[in-house]
């Protein structure tokens, strides 16, 4: 598979918020079946990066290109990126009149509820009807399973979850990932990586990926914290 046809690729992404550069040039390529963990301390710009990749209207790119399955989606609105397979692939246009489609949808939905061990009572609630933080995250995994994306950007999926919910969410991620799906798992601490094994770990600080490696990098972070890497990075910067 050539790099062009990786489910996800971005080049030199820079994002400014009120003229302050928050993401300072990120390039990343994620192939099908790969789980990439993006780890960094609070306030390092991880969420800004992920939201900008999805096309959030509050974050504008000052430079960079974003590709889904080789197609440049940099200028497309969020729902078009989604339909091309980012985060959650395929159109979920409300099909009010389309009965057979609806029935198939319900069948698939109920099957996914069972597969992911999520309470099917969720399906009877209204779109914006007071879900708790944990419930929302579980639902997102369900939506991901339903939409079968090419690239799933999972931002802070683990925060605020108790251990049972964390296991359900992790199981969901592991279930959904196959050789055609790439995952970018954004987290500020290591706990979820006990359940979801990343192929690559990127350390994100000050708006940049400062180090990339395998799963061992996450273990090192767990042991030593971000401080040591931060020190090393600043020494490198001084030398340069």
């Amino acid at each position: 598979m050539t790099q062009d046809h990786a489910p996800f690729r971005c080049e030199d992404i820079r994002v400014a918020i009120e003229s302050k550069e928050v993401v300072k040039g990120v390039s990343l390529s994620i192939k099908g079946g790969e789980i990439h963990a993006l780890m960094g301390p609070n306030g390092s710009g991880k969420s800004t990066l992920v939201n900008a990749l999805m096309g959030h209207p509050s974050y504008t790119l000052t430079s960079g290109r974003i590709f889904i399955n080789g197609e440049d989606v940099t200028e497309l609105p969020p729902h078009e990126r989604s339909r091309r397979g980012m985060f959650l692939r395929a159109a979920v246009k409300a099909r009010v009149k389309d009965d057979p489609e609806m029935k198939t949808f319900r069948k698939t939905l109920i099957a996914e509820f069972e597969r992911l061990e999520i309470d099917p009572a969720f399906a009877t609630r209204y779109v914006n009807d007071g879900f708790s933080g944990g419930e929302k995250k579980r639902l997102e995994i369900l939506q991901m399973a339903m939409l079968k994306p090419s690239i799933a950007l999972l931002d802070e999926t683990d925060s605020g979850l108790d251990i049972d919910a964390l296991q359900i969410v992790s199981k969901g991620i592991n279930t959904v990932v196959n050789e055609t799906v790439g995952v970018l798992l954004v987290t500020h601490y290591q706990r979820i990586l006990n359940f979801v094994k990343p192929d690559f770990v990127h350390v994100f600080m000050g708006g940049r990926i400062v180090r990339s490696g395998g799963p061992e990098l996450a273990a090192q972070l767990e042991k030593e914290g971000y401080e040591r890497i931060e020190k090393e990075v600043s020494q490198v910067a001084e030398v340069a």
Partner: protein, 444 residues
């Protein structure tokens, strides 16, 4: 109706009274009540813009040229069947009865024969005034009479179309009775009236629909409607008023339900149409253990103006009320909502809840929310809440991440907003109302 007091006419004759006397053919007791009501109307000044309930809507809007008041004409039992939209709905398996109140005169009624033989009465209120004078005399005007307000006084004097629904003790009508008022194509203003009596332990499910929302069919310029409902001990009433007047209509709607011990009413009202719509809807919890659950929805666009007032009057102890009123507006539509919860000093252990939420879908739309609590007893639980908000860009973005384009996202958010209210509308009307709601908001 005239804005001034008694109009100048030869020999002090009130032309409206002449019209009522000549053409209505009512029994004497009813005529004398009409005359009294007309006198009250003439003697009452237009409400002041600073008085309670008139801060948000100019009363002059409800004033009509009385020369155009609809002719009542003779009462008629059969006006040639129900309009097609009601006929379609009249399947004995889905509704129990239907009535059509035409602008001016004529009431058509169809009722499941089984119910008729069980003693249920549904008939032209003016006919009932002749045939069942005791029943009608006792109840008519007792909840909303001439002294309720100037426009109620007018309506009490000049109502033409009317309907009586009487459900005897213990009779349970599970399927809805569906009333449609008004879409007759005439632009004349008119006043109408419902009297609903549900005796002890009886059950009634009533859809009370006004207009058919077809702007091009025209509609009355002004409508003045009064609904009085009596629920006996342990009675259960479901009441679903749907205001869907055409775009030019100015409507004034006043409703009260009075509940005896352990009676329950669930009201699910929808306001969709009209140019100006003023609604005063309330339940009087007069017996211990009575309960009212009220759900409301107002959906507007263009320059539509809504003024809704709800009342939960806890006159007895251990009564319970719950109210959820939602408003979604686009264009330059305006809504004012005032919700009164009143708990009397001799009514301990009451529970009352009130929530009003407003969703603004354009920068020109405006909504006001004014809770009014008069709590005279300390042993009560009473809470209220109000919000006015817009569709958040975050929500639209979130749905975008699921492949939903912004227009569909807004539609979905609105559907989620109104859904919990729509859920209380009976099957016979729910899908249609949902489509109307989306249609009304179609240009967001």
């Amino acid at each position: 109706m005239s804005a001034t007091s008694t109009p100048t006419s030869p020999a002090g004759i009130d032309p409206l009274w002449e019209k009522i006397k000549m053409s209505f053919g009512d029994p004497d007791w009813l005529l004398s009540r009409r005359k009294e009501a007309l006198e009250v109307f003439r003697a009452t000044h237009l409400p002041s813009r600073v008085s309670h309930l008139w801060r948000y809507t100019d009363p002059i809007l409800f004033v009509t040229d009385e020369d155009t008041v609809a002719e009542a004409g003779p009462r008629t039992k059969d006006q040639g069947g129900l309009p097609p939209e009601l006929q379609k709905g009249f399947d004995a398996s889905s509704i129990a009865g239907a009535a059509y109140l035409r602008n001016g005169n004529g009431v058509n009624v169809i009722l499941d024969p089984k119910l008729a033989s069980a003693g249920v009465v549904m008939m032209d209120l003016r006919e009932a005034a002749q045939i069942l004078p005791d029943l009608v005399r006792e109840h008519l005007g007792s909840l909303i009479g001439p002294n309720f307000g100037k426009f109620e006084a007018y309506s009490s004097a000049a109502w033409t179309a009317g309907l009586l629904i009487y459900v005897p003790r213990g009779v349970e009508i599970d399927q809805p009775i569906h009333i449609l008022s008004g879409p007759s194509g005439t632009a004349q203003p008119f006043a109408q009236r419902l009297l609903v009596i549900v005796e002890d332990s009886a059950v009634l499910n009533l859809i009370d629909e006004y207009g058919d929302g077809e702007a091009d069919r025209g509609g009355p310029s002004h409508v003045n409607s009064i609904v009085e409902m009596w629920a006996g001990t342990g009675a259960r009433v479901k009441y679903v008023p749907i205001q869907n007047w055409s775009a030019g209509t100015v409507s004034h709607f006043t409703q009260r339900a009075r509940l005896l011990a352990d009676a329950q009413i669930e009201t699910a009202m929808t306001s969709l149409g009209g140019r100006v719509s003023k609604v005063d809807c309330g339940a009087i919890l007069a017996g211990r253990g009575a309960e009212s659950n009220m759900f409301g929805l107002a959906i507007g666009g263009a320059r539509q103006q809504f003024d809704h007032h709800t009342v939960h009057d806890h006159q007895a102890g251990n009564t319970r009320s719950d109210l959820h009123f939602k408003v979604a507006l686009r264009g330059r539509a305006h809504s004012a909502y005032t919700g009164l919860i009143r708990i009397e000093d001799k009514a301990p252990f009451c529970e009352a809840y009130q929530e009003n939420r407003n969703l603004l879908l354009s920068s020109g739309a405006r909504a006001e929310s004014i809770p009014e609590l008069e709590i005279l007893n300390n042993e009560v639980r009473c809470t209220h809440g109000a919000t006015v908000g817009k569709v958040s860009p975050e929500e639209v973005f979130y749905l975008g991440t699921r492949g939903i384009d912004p227009a569909d996202a807004v539609r979905l958010i609105v559907t989620g907003f109104v859904g919990p209210i729509l859920a209380h509308i009976p099957d016979a009307a729910r899908d249609r109302i949902h489509r109307e709601v989306l249609h009304h908001l179609g240009e967001v």
